[in-house]
C-alpha cells in the first residue's frame, strides 16, 4: 500500500523541479511569439543564477537579488536584441553566441562565489503544511517564485489571447510587414519581448542558485535552458502545454530515481533517457494536428525584419 503522503511528497518534488523550466519556457514563448528565435536561454539563465547568488551574498537582501537577477537577464538579452534587431544579425548564430558568452562570463564572475553556502529563502504558508494529508505539502510551504511559476502559464495564455498587447505581439510574430503597415512599431515590440524573455530566464536561473540548490557552481543550469527551448517548440507555442511538458519532464526525472531506489529492474540508462523521450512523444502526440502546428507557429519565427525608409 502506497502512503498517500509519500505520493504528495513526490508530486511536490516534481513541481519544484519543473519551476525553472516553466519560467524560462514561458519567457521564451513570448519572445518567439513576436517572431524572434533566441537560442540564448541557457546563457541568460546562468547569468541570472550567478547574478542572483552574487547579489544575495554581497547585499544580503533576497529581494534585491531576485530583482537583480531579472535585470541581469534583461541586460544580457539587450545585447541580443541590439544585435538581431538593430544590426539585423542572424538569430540562431547570435543566440548561440549569447549562450557561450553567458556560460563564460558567469564562470568568470562566479570565481569568488564558489564554496559559499546560500541563504534560506522564505516560504509561504508554512504553518498550513501539516493540515491536510496529501494536499498540504503540495499547496503550502513554497517560495513566492514557485507560486508565480505555476500561475505564469495561465497569465501568459490570457495575455496572448485576451489582451490587446498580446494580439499585437502575435501580429508582429506572424506578419511583421503587415503589422508595420498598421503602424505598429515592430522593432519596439520585438525589443520588449526579448527583454521580457531575458527577465524570465534570469528569474529561472535565480530560482536554481537561490532556492532549488542554494549555491553557485559553474555551469549549474546543466542544460535546462535547452530543455526549456525544446518545450516551447513541442508545446506548439501554447503556455498550458508548456506546463504539462515541464511536469512530465520533471516527473519522470524524479520518478526514475525512485524506481532505482526501490530496485525496479529496468536498465538505468533507459530510465535516465526516459524524461527526454516521453516528454517529446507526449507533446508530439497532443499537438500532432499539422494544420494546427502551422497555424500556431509564428510565421516569421527567426526571420529578420527591417523597414527601409
Amino acid at each position: 500500500m502506497i502512503d498517500i503522503n509519500f505520493v504528495g511528497l513526490i508530486i511536490t518534488s516534481i513541481m519544484a523541479s519543473a519551476v525553472p523550466l516553466i519560467l524560462a519556457s514561458c519567457g521564451e514563448l513570448i519572445t518567439e511569439r513576436s517572431g524572434v528565435l533566441n537560442l540564448g536561454v541557457e546563457g541568460m539563465m546562468i547569468i541570472g543564477a550567478i547574478s542572483g547568488f552574487a547579489l544575495m551574498t554581497v547585499t544580503g537582501s533576497l529581494f534585491i537579488a531576485v530583482i537583480g537577477a531579472m535585470l541581469a537577464g534583461i541586460l544580457i538579452s539587450t545585447i541580443f536584441a541590439f544585435l538581431t534587431q538593430t544590426l539585423i544579425t542572424n538569430h540562431v548564430a547570435t543566440g548561440l553566441a549569447l549562450t557561450i558568452f553567458g556560460i563564460g562570463i558567469s564562470a568568470m564572475i562566479g570565481k569568488n562565489f564558489v564554496g559559499i553556502p546560500g541563504k534560506e529563502f522564505p516560504v509561504l504558508f508554512e504553518s498550513l503544511k501539516e493540515t491536510i494529508p496529501f494536499l498540504s505539502p503540495i499547496l503550502f510551504g513554497h517560495s513566492i517564485v514557485f507560486y508565480f511559476a505555476f500561475a505564469l502559464p495561465f497569465i501568459t495564455n490570457y495575455f496572448l489571447k485576451k489582451t490587446k498587447i498580446g494580439l499585437i505581439v502575435r501580429a508582429v510574430g506572424d506578419s511583421p510587414v503587415s503589422a508595420s503597415n498598421q503602424g505598429i512599431n515592430v522593432k519596439l515590440v520585438r525589443y520588449s519581448c526579448i527583454l521580457y524573455g531575458g527577465a524570465m530566464c534570469g528569474l529561472a536561473g535565480a530560482y536554481l542558485s537561490m532556492i532549488y540548490t542554494p549555491q553557485w557552481i559553474e555551469n549549474m543550469t546543466g542544460g535546462r535552458g535547452w530543455i526549456a527551448l525544446a518545450l516551447v517548440v513541442f508545446s506548439t507555442w501554447n503556455p498550458i502545454k508548456i506546463l504539462i511538458g515541464a511536469m512530465i519532464f520533471g516527473g519522470l526525472t524524479i520518478i526514475q530515481f525512485h524506481m532505482q531506489a526501490v530496485g525496479v529492474r529496468i536498465p538505468v540508462q533507459f530510465l535516465t533517457a526516459l524524461p527526454y523521450i516521453v516528454t517529446i512523444v507526449v507533446l508530439v502526440v497532443i499537438s500532432r494536428d499539422s494544420r494546427k502546428i502551422r497555424l500556431s507557429t509564428p510565421s516569421s519565427l527567426g526571420k529578420s525584419f527591417y523597414k527601409d525608409n
Binding site: G115, P117, Q215, E218, G222, A261
Partner: protein
C-alpha cells in the same frame, strides 16, 4: 694581492654557478590539465589546491580547465609540452591514451596521469588515491548512526572506482550493524546539482536517514540538511554547506604528491612509478568529525583510521561474499590491488543491480 684576486674570482665563480643551478632548479615549470572548472568545489578544485601547493613551494605552474577527454586533450598536451613545461599532470581517467600518445613525442617532458593504469613510455607515471579507505570510515559512521537501517548512496557512473567505494562503505557499515541496507541511485553525472539533489530527495523519501555520495557537488549535503538527515562530504570538506548534516568528509589531498614529484623533476631524480596512496600517506584525509557523532563511535572511527593508515586493517578483509553469496575474498585474506582495480560486482547487502 694576486692570490686574493684569484681566490675571490674562483669563489665568485662558484657562487655564480650555484646561483645558476638554483635558478635552473627553480625554473621547472609544471602544467595541470583539468576535466572540469576549478570552481567545482570537488574533484578539479582539489587538484587545483594541489597545484597551489606546488606554486607555494616556489615553482611556476600553469593550468588548463575544462579540457574534454578527446582529441582536444592531445592538442592541449602538445601545446603545453611545446611551450617549455617540464612536467604535466593530467588529472582525469579519460586522458590516459592522449597522455601516452603525446608522451611518446616528447621524451624529455615528464607526464603524470591520475587514476589511470597505462605507462607505455618511461616518461609516464600514474597516481591515484585509495578513496575506498575513506569510504570504510564513512561506512562505519553510517552503520553506527542510522536508525532506519536504510542508507542512501548517490552514485555517478558504474566504474570500478565507484563500485569499490560502495562495497567498502557497505562492508564497513555491516561490520558495525549487520541489518543495514545500502540503496543505490545512479545519477549518471559527476556534477549536476539539480539532478544530484533530486536523487538524494528520492532516497530520503524512501526512508534513508543517511546519504552518502560519489558525485561532486555540494547539493546533496544541502538537501540532507533541509530534510534533517545526515550526509558525508565528497572530495573537499563540505561542512560549511550543511553544518548539521555533514558528519565528516573524505578529502582528496594531492598537494604533497605534486610537490614531491615536481621537486624530483627539478633535482633530476624523477623516475617512472605507479602510486596508489591512502590515508597512511596523507593522500586521503578525513575531515573533523561532527559533534553529533557519539564518543563510542568516534573512538571506533579514530581507531579504524589509525589501523587503515598503519596497514593493520585492510578495508577489504575476508570473508567477503557477493550479492549471490559467492565467496569473493576468503576468510582472513585481503583483496589484492588487481582485484580492487577491476572490481565490478556488488558485495552482499547492496540492493539492486549494477547497470551495464
Amino acid at each position: 694581492m694576486h692570490k686574493i684576486f684569484i681566490r675571490s674570482f674562483v669563489s665568485s665563480l662558484v657562487f655564480l654557478f650555484t646561483l645558476t643551478v638554483a635558478a635552473v632548479a627553480k625554473d621547472v615549470k609544471a602544467a595541470f590539465v583539468y576535466i572540469g572548472p576549478t570552481g567545482d568545489h570537488g574533484w578539479t578544485y582539489q587538484h587545483d589546491v594541489g597545484r597551489k601547493a606546488v606554486e607555494a613551494a616556489g615553482y611556476k605552474t600553469t593550468y588548463v580547465e575544462g579540457v574534454p577527454e578527446s582529441a582536444d586533450a592531445e592538442r592541449v598536451l602538445r601545446q603545453l609540452a611545446n611551450s617549455g613545461h617540464d612536467v604535466i599532470f593530467t588529472t582525469s581517467f579519460g586522458y590516459m591514451n592522449p597522455t601516452n600518445k603525446v608522451a611518446k613525442e616528447f621524451p624529455n617532458v615528464k607526464f603524470e596521469h591520475a587514476t589511470g593504469y597505462k605507462r607505455e613510455h618511461p616518461n609516464v607515471s600514474t597516481y591515484a588515491a585509495r578513496f575506498y579507505e575513506g569510504r570504510a570510515i564513512l561506512g562505519t559512521i553510517a552503520g553506527s548512526m542510522t536508525k532506519s537501517n536504510v542508507i542512501g548512496y548517490v552514485a555517478s557512473f558504474p566504474i570500478p572506482e565507484v563500485i569499490r567505494g560502495i562495497n567498502s562503505f557497505t562492508l564497513a557499515a555491516q561490520k558495525v550493524n549487520p541489518n543495514i541496507k545500502t540503496k543505490i541511485v545512479w545519477a549518471f553525472t559527476w556534477y549536476d546539482p539539480g539532478k544530484e539533489s533530486e536523487a538524494a530527495k528520492a532516497l530520503i523519501d524512501q526512508g534513508a536517514d543517511i546519504i552518502a555520495q560519489h558525485t561532486d557537488s555540494t547539493a546533496i549535503v544541502q538537501i540532507a540538511e533541509k530534510a534533517g538527515v545526515y550526509a558525508f562530504g565528497q572530495a573537499s570538506d563540505m561542512d560549511k554547506f550543511a553544518p548539521k548534516a555533514v558528519l565528516t568528509s573524505v578529502e582528496n589531498n594531492w598537494g604533497p604528491y605534486y610537490v614531491e614529484r615536481v621537486k624530483a623533476v627539478a633535482n633530476g631524480t624523477w623516475n617512472q612509478k605507479d602510486t596508489w596512496h591512502g590515508i597512511g600517506d596523507g593522500m586521503v584525509v578525513i575531515s573533523d568529525l561532527d559533534s553529533a557523532i557519539p564518543s563510542d563511535v568516534r573512538a571506533k572511527v579514530n581507531q579504524l583510521e589509525k589501523d587503515l593508515a598503519s596497514g593493520k586493517v585492510h578495508a577489504f578483509t575476508g570473508p567477503i561474499y557477493d550479492q549471490k553469496g559467492n565467496l569473493m575474498v576468503a576468510d582472513g585474506k585481503t583483496a589484492d590491488d588487481g582485484m580492487l582495480a577491476g572490481m565490478m560486482t556488488y558485495v552482499k547487502g547492496v540492493e539492486g543491480d549494477i547497470p551495464n
